[in-house]
Symmetry: C2
């Protein structure tokens, strides 16, 4: 081995690995940030769930090595990514939406700590399903909202229901992630029963499925009719609070700009001027 | 007027106006989606709060007309944008973070309905402060979370406190938007008092200020010391739930991947394979 090669090997051993956990938005490639695109392009190794890796194939380097897996392998995926990074690879872990909202940021950080690895973890935020779905529906989230996942794989069902109940008592707008799947329909039915207890039957409901992808669908309906509609693993469900309304096919939770017929807190001096 | 000019004028009158409400992310230009960039580049008229308009000046057309205003003019800004759109302009309203999270989507939709204008409203989602701040801190939001604004301009203070209390009872991770300003410090003190009642003094707290901008700061601390730190209008505060921990300077709310020392629900068959 030459001196240069030996020096290079030593440098690699001393260099800490780095994993970037990249939020790729809700679907397609148009809701990805320029920072996320740069990170994906810089990576020589891409790790992720197959569907999401396919979503961003047009962005990654042609010679990047891709490690694609099926559902439910978050810890294995995390371990693999960290192992590759500790060997000097530039690793990007692909996470749908935002990595910190029921995504890969948690498994990566839990694993790097459990395994005591000398790997830096950088999280690149993305557009999460709550805000993408809300954009499709109008402005349902304008006041305080709570995000709850109905996936009961790791959180006990009664805990999920307690959370829903607290959020309803606080009059939050609710955003349901992972609302149901073909094999998991009971949690949503139980939640619906609870919703009917705390909210009026005509409470606005928004269901957005496959945002940004082929087959994208947006449904505006009311609470009493919620379960009549198709809701699956690609859906996000938004449940209005006590003030939420439907206007012209859009859902709006007013923030109080218009109270008793006139604008509030909109100061009366000339508001706008043209600048170049 | 020539026949062609008259026809053109008639077409313009029949054409519905269109306002795009564009989320520009938390700061800088790197956390903007490619769709948002396209919309900003297509617009001939840009409407927004001065600070946010300046953030994206490098993206907009050189000859775009810019209508920039001070704080608190949401309804006036909305009315102006809709008026310009109804006259045939391609209008983009700039909204920090995501337009539907305490942003401009609500005022625009409320106003288009109040004024019964024939203008289409399209909302382009962006990266909101909750997820940007979380990315800076590690993975604090991995389970269910609630977003609450402490701005009491339009929502009564007691209502805000009730919401905080419900979220605490439900063991949500909390994200506080607009936590305090030079003239508005009392709400955060009252919230802190309530937090100390429901959470342990060593509950992890994250404070992220000016994410993506000059002067960006990230602080990881504990609940009992929260008010010792600088928190202002550009800050987002994240309050852990009963499971949240600090590891190696990062905040993590575990989702249950590691229970009783071993991974749960990580199926044992070979999880990863290389694809090209």
């Amino acid at each position: 081995m030459t001196v240069a090669a030996r020096r290079s090997t030593c440098k690699e051993k001393d260099r800490r690995g780095r994993v970037t956990v990249v939020g790729i938005g809700p679907g397609g490639i148009h809701h990805i940030t320029t920072r996320a695109i740069d990170e994906l392009r810089s990576a020589d190794s891409i790790v992720g769930f197959g569907l999401y890796v396919n979503q961003i194939r047009s962005i990654i380097r042609p010679n990047a090595r891709v490690y694609s897996s099926g559902m439910g392998h978050e810890i294995d995926r995390a371990s693999l990514a960290l192992e590759l990074a500790s060997r000097g690879r530039r690793v990007a872990v692909v996470s749908s939406g935002d990595p910190g909202v029921y995504g890969m940021a948690g498994p990566i950080i839990e694993t790097v700590n459990k395994l005591r690895m000398k790997v830096d973890v950088v999280v690149v935020p993305g557009v999460t399903a709550a805000t993408a779905s809300a954009a499709s529906l109008g402005a349902p989230l304008m006041t305080d909202f709570a995000a709850i996942s109905l996936s009961d794989l790791m959180v006990p069902r009664n805990k999920i229901l307690e959370r829903v109940e607290s959020a309803l008592k606080g009059d939050f707008v609710l955003v349901l992630y992972n609302p149901q799947s073909r094999s998991r329909k009971e949690p949503l039915r139980l939640v619906h029963k609870m919703l009917m207890k705390y909210r009026k039957p005509n409470t606005p409901i928004g269901i957005v499925t496959a945002y940004g992808r082929a087959g994208e669908r947006t449904t505006v309906t009311t609470l009493v009719r919620m379960l009549d509609h198709e809701i699956d693993m690609e859906s996000t469900v938004i449940i209005g609070n006590s003030s939420t309304k439907i206007f012209d096919g859009k859902i709006l939770t007013p923030r109080g700009y218009y109270s008793r017929g006139q604008p509030t807190r909109s100061r009366t001096r000339t508001p706008s001027r043209t600048l170049r």
